[in-house]
Amino acid sequence: MALLLQNANFKGFFEGKIYQGASKSVCVPGLNCYSCPGAIGACPIGSLQTYLSGLKFKFPYYVVGILIFIGALVGRAVCGFLCPFGFLQDLLYMIPFFKKNEFKLDKYLRYFKYVVLGLFVLLLPFCFKLTPFFCKYICPSGTIAGIWLASADKQVASQLGGLFSWKLVVLGIILVTSLMIYRPFCKYICPLGAIYGFFNKISLYRMHLDKSKCVNCKACAKVCKMNIDPSVKPNSCECIRCGDCVNACPHKALKMKVKI
C-alpha cells in the first residue's frame, strides 16, 4: 500500500517522465527516489544531501524536522511498513533460496549503516559541494528509477555510462543478497534506518514487554528475522517493528502500542 501511495504517479511509468506537482515539496517517510517516475514526494535522504551540499550552507530545518517528527512518532516502523525498498526486499526473501540469515559478521556489519550515514550522507556532501554522495554512489532506489527512465526514454539511455554500471553492481549485490539474508540493505547500509533507529526507544509508538507474562521461551527471538531478542531488547535500534514477534508470543507479553 505504501509503495502504491508513494508512487501514485502511474502515468509517469508509461511516459518515462517524473511527477512535478506540488507534493514533490513534501518528504515521504521511506527511501523512495524522487527521480522514480511514479514518485509523488521527495526522498528525505536525497533532500538532506541537497541542502548539505549546497554552495551556500543553509541548515535543513524542514527536512531535519520531518525526520525527527516521524522518528519520534513511530521510529523504525517506517522501515517495517512504509518503505518501498524494504517491501521489495521482503518479496525477494520470500523466494525459495538458500538462506543464511545468521552469520558471524552480522553484528559487526550493522555498524556500517552509521558509517554510510556519517560519511556519505552528512560529511562528504558537506565537504564536496553539489554532490549527493549516497544517492550518487550507493542508493539502489535511484538505480531502479534510472532503469525505468532509461527503458522509457532513449535519450536517457544513451547517456548511461560507468557510474550507472557501478550502481547496477551495487543494486545487483543487494537484490541477490536479499534472497539469502532478510533485508540486507536495511540491516547494513540504509542511512534512513540508522536515523529512525535512534528513536526506537523513545518513540510514541513502541513495543511494550510485560515481564510478568514473559516466560523467556524465546519464541519471539526465533521468529525475528532482524536477529533481535525482543524479550531482552524490546525496542532495539535494529527493530523494524514488523510485529512478527508480537504474533509469535504465546503469552501475549509483547505489544506494539501508542503510549505517552
Binding site: 514526494g41 536525497g46 557501478w166
Partner: protein, 45 residues
C-alpha cells in the same frame, strides 16, 4: 517519566523545525530538486 518528556519534546522540536523550514521557504528548495530528474541519483553522474 523522562521518556515521556523526551518523546513529547522531540515531537514538538520536529514540528517547530518544520515550521521554521516552511517560513524560510525550504520546501521550495526540496521541490526544486525533486521536480527535476536527479542525474546523480539515476546514475548519469
Amino acid at each position: 517519566m523522562r521518556k515521556r518528556i523526551l518523546t513529547i519534546s522531540l515531537i514538538a522540536a520536529g514540528i517547530i523545525l518544520i515550521v521554521v523550514g516552511i517560513v524560510l521557504k525550504q520546501p521550495e528548495g526540496v521541490f526544486a530538486k525533486a521536480a527535476r530528474i536527479c542525474m546523480e541519483c539515476i546514475g548519469l553522474g
